[in-house]
Point group: C2
Chain length 353, copies 2
């Protein structure tokens, strides 16, 4: 499991589902246009948006964008620590910087200090194309060199006592992207941001991203993803969602219905629902499944007749039901694991259908 | 390395590049329409085509299709051994059967005997959806069960002395497809035909296939692929090619130019060109690279000025050149490996550019 960070209210790493990112391509000064694009991205299923802050004049509009954005905003900064400091002051929920081009270690330390103060995570990454010369050694695979470079950068942050990092390793070579991320996954516990650079046209980019990001997700690697396309960013979200669905991490496959809890509720239902939802995120289910979690036996199976499957708690016991009929009685503590097993069985049945 | 089989002239397994398959969706009796579709598939980059033979009446048109097809033709047979026998008699370059539904072991043996006689390989496979009951055991992952079922089927063929097999393990669950093929790859040396079943709409199917097939190819698994889409089969080829390109197995990244050989030629150039082409197929190269292989030093670097890189042989020695300039002198036997190294270096440079 990876360290948990938060970009605004969106958790990355830990038990959090893989989140989807994109980046606006509107003009840095166009507040309304950018906000409109962010709303479209959110409606499409985007969780976090990145907005470039290319110059000082962009800081004022950036502040207005962050203040009204429908999604947490990460400032994308290059070459100028003052822009990173400015974006953090203006409310950025995170920053993405290239520690190698920010203007030296003192300026980098200032950015780290302010990010820590603002509780904003920092994404640092290595792109194969801009790998520093000193890491290009004969006999060293470039994927290894990328990770070596990244870990040196990470150490600098750790030495400042800063750990709210998110890492990225990108190459336009899909195999290299996969190799570098596999190595990084084994090498440290920071959440990984997956993407393939210069992924190209919509079609080529979608396929290249699906291969690269999909392979890593299938291996259980990756905490947040961005599909880069030379296309409307909303299309990036569509591809990202389809990649997640392909590896069984799609959204909304399992709908949870739970009772509002009342005096009859014999268990602390809310943490049970949370536990279930957290664990169910990693479950694959073809199509949709409605799952009911009921706090007592009275309205359990009956009230949740529409649910495909569910559990009704009754003091120390729980009833598992399916299509309104009780199929098992178990101890309350076993209820969630047994329900998850039942869902896995149903998924297998649905596969066969 | 996997056992080498041939479907017509197309080699699968061994050193052969990953081939692309598709399946016609024209009416079984529509000879001209089917041939037209096969020509379109070939033009798009398809290597092998599958044609269903659903009933006895389809055998006569099938024969005319095979006789005039631009691509080797595999007969897709279900439920009736007589159709498999008929298709083999009519010239099928291979057959795809489901040993479990062909009408019993004696009929299966007859098909195997005739396929051996006709030197036609057989593809057998297991689809998660039709896994026989006896392999569905609690505690056994379905991917393992699929492989267990397949290996039992393989044994039946081996017991008849038949080894020209191609295997497939498909599921509509991408993770399961990948898991089953990884296990099969470790379990036997028959070439693997990769695909994701019921991959769905063009968009969803392309992404699902890219994740599943792409992951396996990145792991060095898979000898021939089919992208299944609910779409014009030509679109399957487009997606297949893009998947191959994404994992560095794209076609035409490296163009080989070689001299026609003459009296000055001091080496047996043709097998060297073949060796180079065979090995270069597994090389990744971003964009296009023109490689010249010249039989003597006279017209070597000079004549191949347009080539990005090349080698000119001179008796026991060889000159490696780049953009018309000699960059190394090596023994003739080292020439191809050194040329491949040089191309790998150029690929790395091109990546950085």
């Amino acid at each position: 499991m990876k360290r948990e960070i938060f970009v605004g209210k969106v958790g990355i790493g830990g038990d959090h589902p893989v989140s989807i990112q994109s980046m606006t391509n509107t003009d840095a000064g166009d507040v309304e246009g950018t906000l409109r694009q962010i709303r479209r991205l959110k409606a499409a299923g985007c969780d976090i948006v990145r907005v470039a802050v290319p110059r000082k004049a962009a800081l004022a509009p950036f502040q207005r964008i962050v203040a009204r954005s429908a999604l947490p905003v990460i400032a994308d900064i290059h070459f100028d620590a003052a822009l990173a400091l400015g974006a953090l002051e203006k409310g950025a929920h995170g920053v993405r910087i290239n520690p190698g081009n920010i203007g030296g270690s003192e300026k980098l330390k200032a950015v780290i200090r302010l990010a820590a103060q603002k509780k904003a995570p920092i994404r640092i990454g290595v792109n194969a194309g801009s790998l520093e010369k000193k890491y290009r050694r004969p006999g060293l695979e470039r994927a290894e060199a990328m990770v070596a470079s990244l870990l040196d950068r990470v150490k600098f942050f750790e030495d400042q006592g800063f750990f709210d990092l998110k890492l990225s390793l990108k190459s336009h070579d899909v195999a290299e992207t996969v190799a570098a991320n596999r190595l990084a996954d084994r090498s440290c516990a920071y959440p990984l941001h997956l993407g393939v650079t210069e992924a190209g046209s919509y079609f080529a980019g979608a396929i290249r991203s699906a291969v690269g990001i999909g392979s890593l997700l299938l291996a259980g690697i990756g905490n947040t993803i961005r599909v880069s396309l030379t296309a409307d960013p909303v299309r990036e979200i569509r591809v990202a969602r389809q990649i997640l669905a392909s590896v069984g991490l799609g959204r909304g496959g399992i709908d949870v219905v739970s009772c509002p809890t009342c005096a009859r509720t014999s268990v602390d239902l809310i943490p049970l629902v949370e536990e279930f939802e957290r664990k169910a995120r990693r479950l694959r289910f073809p199509g949709r499944l409605r799952v009911a979690l009921m706090g007592c036996e009275v309205n359990g199976p009956g009230e949740a007749r529409d649910a495909d499957v569910g559990v009704a708690f009754s003091r120390q016991r729980a009833f598992l039901f399916r299509k309104g009929k009780i199929v098992a009685r178990v101890g309350a503590k076993e209820a969630i694991p047994r329900l998850l097993d039942l869902i896995r069985e149903l998924a297998t049945e649905a596969d066969r259908a």
